[in-house]
């Protein structure tokens, strides 16, 4: 699980920032307002990005982030802090369910992906030349992920963005882990096709360049 954007905005939360999530949750359950803020700051952007990946537009992602925290904090007094039950997984589950219930509304219309950012942050040490992701290629991949359909797309997002294991995804989506495996298998099959096509395209471009 990733922990992102931990900032101390009020100056009094230094001690809280160093606390682990379970300790923060316990403090929240006791009504500690500073702990509430620290917990939100710790997870807000991650939840926001997850919601953005599912909803595909910023406005909806903002709404769903707020909805996620409202639902989570209303249920927080009943959340049991114990070994084997992680807060992050619980929060993702709430976020995914909030997004799904919004998408199921009749009036909801799925929007296309927004235009890509001009530059892409990469991990140079991990980037082989042939897989350097360009804006166009990324857009192709996003379109392919988009075309997977809601069920498969959610599994892909939870696996590759949230970094959850098959069992954790199964818990978040309330489906058997075997179903997660088969959905991932199906999604990969389709995405592999896109990647192959792109590779072939790149090879053709290179060979044309060599010939010229």
């Amino acid at each position: 699980m990733k922990l992102l954007d931990v900032k101390d905005r009020n100056g009094g939360g230094d001690a809280l920032i160093s606390l682990d999530t379970e300790a923060l949750v316990l403090r929240c359950q006791r009504g500690d307002r500073l702990a509430v803020e620290t917990l939100i700051l710790r997870y807000q952007n991650y939840v926001y990005r997850l919601c953005f990946l599912v909803m595909r537009n910023e406005q909806d992602a903002e709404d769903m982030t707020q909805e996620t925290f409202i639902r989570a904090f209303r249920a927080l007094p009943r959340f049991e802090v114990r070994e084997g039950k992680n807060f992050e997984g619980w929060l993702y589950r709430i976020a995914v369910n909030a997004c799904r219930s919004r998408m199921r509304r009749k009036w909801y219309q799925v929007l296309p992906w927004p235009e890509p950012a001009p530059t892409i942050a990469g991990e140079p040490e991990e980037q082989p030349d042939r897989l350097l992701m360009q804006g166009e290629a990324r857009q192709e991949m996003l379109a392919a992920i988009d075309a997977l359909g809601e069920k498969h797309r959610l599994v892909v997002i939870l696996r590759y963005y949230a970094g959850l294991s098959n069992e954790e995804i199964a818990e978040v989506l309330s489906i058997p882990s075997g179903t997660v495996r088969s959905r991932l298998h199906m999604a990969r099959k389709r995405l592999k096709k896109v990647l192959k096509e792109r590779e072939n395209k790149a090879e053709r471009t290179v060979s044309r360049g060599v010939a010229a």
């Binding site: 929240c28 990005r49 707020q66 209303r74 007094p77 991990e126 897989l131 996003l142």
Partner: protein, 269 residues
């Protein structure tokens, strides 16, 4: 192992989560299947591509600060609601538990032989005709100090007869007691319901009690019915002695009327 099964295991294989046997079977399949072997080789690149695509698509995306403030405010408000709800739920749970406990106690009391408070009359047993329960130790006498008497013979043989017995014979208002109604009938058809009108003309007032018996009762034979006295206890402070009984039929329902003939005031403790 076929390609479909192998493909489903590749993730766990890469993460070292397979058992030794599964690992062995998969490796056997990979050695003989170039497609699955290629899939395994290709998978890290695919995973990396998908991961980077998703990460890049949300790179630099942060929640506006005013949104954070709204979320914190809403979260605090809902946390308070949740905590209040939890307190309410806890107190509700305690109440439900107490009520359940009370029901359990009442149930155990009945199981232990206590008198049910409702209905007013319950059927204890039903005997065939000519096996009246008044012989031997059972005493159908309705008034203390009087000699036992059998069920009054109805003038019309087709009409049923009835008798009421108080036990114990002498009691105080707070003493537990039972009131048993013997109902004898010679009808061909079963009796669906019985209505007992109990007229009590005591020294402190006149009361009428209506007790309903849901049948069926046998057409021929004696039904022994226990009349629960709790309905009387709250209002009567005397000991009542029943004598005359009258049975009459009214639109398919047999009515038994019993009238107090004598009364003795019970001295208070």
């Amino acid at each position: 192992m076929n390609c479909q099964a192998a493909s489903l295991l590749l993730d766990d294989y890469r993460e070292g989560l397979l058992s030794q046997r599964e690992c062995h079977l998969l490796e056997l399949h990979l050695a003989s299947c170039p497609e699955c072997a290629a899939d395994l080789r290709f998978r890290p690149a695919l995973d990396r591509d998908v991961r980077r695509t998703l990460a890049a698509s949300v790179q630099g995306l942060t929640l506006p600060p005013e949104m954070t403030a709204r979320i914190v405010y809403a979260a605090e408000h809902n946390l308070r609601k949740g905590r209040r709800g939890r307190r309410v739920r806890r107190s509700l749970q305690s109440t439900v538990m107490l009520v359940g406990l009370a029901f359990l106690c009442v149930g155990l009391y009945f199981l232990a032989g206590g008198d049910p408070s409702t209905p007013g009359v319950s059927i204890v047993s039903q005997l065939p005709a000519n096996s009246l329960p008044f012989s031997g130790s059972h005493d159908p006498v309705v008034a203390p100090g009087r000699s036992p008497s059998p069920l009054p013979e109805p003038a019309d043989q087709t009409l049923p007869s009835a008798s009421l017995v108080f036990e114990p014979r002498t009691m105080r208002p707070s003493d537990p007691y039972t009131m048993t109604l013997f109902f004898q009938s010679n009808q061909e058809h079963q009796i669906d319901s019985l209505h007992v009108e109990l007229d009590v003309d005591g020294p402190t007032g006149f009361y009428r009690f209506d007790l309903a018996v849901e049948g069926p009762l046998p057409g021929r034979g004696v039904s022994i019915l226990r009349v629960t006295p709790d309905v009387l206890e709250a209002r009567c402070q005397e000991q009542y002695l029943m004598s005359a009984t009258e049975v009459f039929r009214d639109e398919g329902t047999y009515n038994v009327r019993m009238t107090l003939s004598d009364a003795v005031t019970v001295p208070s403790r």
